[in-house]
Amino acid sequence: MSLLSIRNLSVSFATGRGPFRAVDRVDLDVAAGELVAIVGESGSGKSVAMLAVMGLLPWIATVTADRMMFDGRDLLSLSARERRRIIGRDLVMIFQEPMSSLNPCFTVGFQIREAMKAHLDLSRAQRQARAVELLELVGIPEPDRRLSAFPHQLSGGMSQRVMIAMALACKPKLIIADEPTTALDVTIQAQILDLLLKLQKESGVGLVLITHDMGVVAETAQRVCVHYAGQQVEMQDTRGLFRDPHHPYTAALLAALPERARGRLLPSIPGIVPGLADRPTGCLFSPRCGFATDTCRTVPPPRAGAELGLALCHTPLVAGVPQRREFAA
């Protein structure tokens, strides 16, 4: 049984120009100890979908789903109080901006011990000991001294290590890491990612890694979800996805990887992700798609079967060749 199971998750925001659907019928399954990557450009609804799972969206957001189960509990029917008992203990999140994600007014130690105080039955001394242990675990030297440091005294990489320590404090079952290395220096990015993966492997915790780094995905994830403009356009195991992408968007993303480029110019995807005002009527990717037909531009695409990576496409690719399907309306 999967640890996290989501069906048809949609999130819409009330805006001045009417509701905006940031996440559109997304499915996700994560088994215990599994590493699933969600990739997509900025604005493709990756973070919003995961914030919805955490219940951290602002009140202007409306979340609907057919199913949102975590560890055998239905997140949709839980009261706010019951949900808070899971959030921060079994289900935790690491954010994109470590520097601004720590409260400037409290010491690192206070912020690490806080989740333990809320969720675990530990004495003050035990919490302190665990905090020291956690900082050691995430590779922070002189943990005793660092616990009394304030966030502004830490570098970005250190802050993210603290955030990871904080996430691990209550021995969670699933970590959602929302682009955990994006805000960091390139040299630090690899360190933090290695740390996260090492800890994931050692502790057997499930990990949802939101990223837009395909290289990271190829090295780490067991399965990949590709998001585009709020929709999930493809989901495959990593090996299959890199060998034979079925959605033209995935194919274009992979073609844009520098290590796969053959010509002098790096291939790129023309255009930008559609916003609230310029949503196409048919397939959302059709304006940028090299394989788009008239049907693609007018009729929303159906979802293909698992053998075609659940691609949301009229003409899913097989070995780079579009397959016209009779049942596609």
């Binding site: 899971i86 954010f95 994600s101 409260n103 400037p104 007014c105 912020q111 989740a115 502004h152 955030m163």
Partner: protein, 336 residues
Amino acid sequence: MLNLILRRVALTVPTFVALMFVTFVAVRLVPGDPIEARTGERGIAPERLAQLRHELGLDQPVWRQFLDYIYGLLHGDFGVSIVTKTPVLHEFLILFPATLELAFCALVFAVVLGVPAGVLAAVKRGSVLDHSVMTVALAGYSMPIFWWGLLLIMFMSEYLGLTPVSGRMDLINYYFEPVTGFMLIDSLLSGQEGAFGAAAAHLVLPSIVLGTIPLAVIARMTRSSMLEVLGEDYVRTARAKGLSPLRVVGLHTLRNALIPVVTVVGLQTGTLLAGAVLTETIFAWPGVGKWLIESISRRDYPALQGGIMLISAIVILVNLIVDMLYVAINPRIRHG
């Protein structure tokens, strides 16, 4: 840290120099002089006028008077009141506890009501509660103090008969020698039954009147500061830990949101002491404000100069303390 304090103290020197000059000039810009103010319309013999002016040093050139004034100030001498013939500092110290007591109660009223109102309005942003709080705050900020005071006296004292109209104490029922000058404390020390209640009752209306503008400012400042902090990433982190809303708002958000509010509260001491002039006049409150108003009509130059200097010094001092407090509550400055 010590360096920071010394730097801030040094910065107050130019302020004081400017103050000495402005008070000295402003006081003399008021038409008439102390002698004319006392003799009134009956007139006075020119020889007698000249003699009195000479006694008070008013026949000296203005620059000479200014130098004398500064010389006195530098020696801690605030001059002697022309009217009462007592040292200005002595008179100020007798009256100041009354003003301080009033200002303190007004500030407590403003903070105790203003901070929670601002927090609630921010948390329930866009709700009826938010709109009501902000409307009341705007009304409070726009209300002329003297008119608001009269309205309250008419309603609370005259119509409902709940509070005394004016003064600090029921002198008919209670009499005791001042020990600290603070009526709330002295009434307790006197041991007379009901004295404390009477002193507190006299404080209610003046405190509300004086505290209304600071209340409005604090409520609005708290609200906007809270709204800003509620959108911060670290508040989301706190919620992601599964903490209760009370802890997220009351600890993680409020702690950060209060940093600018503390500054505003400090700035309100100026408003309070300025407002005390009007409030004390309305409620016949025997404090520094009322004394200054009376000194203006008497053209009591030393009392005015000294009184304004002392009040300004207190405002500057409070702001200095607030700056230090700011350092204490904001770790980013403390360890900067």
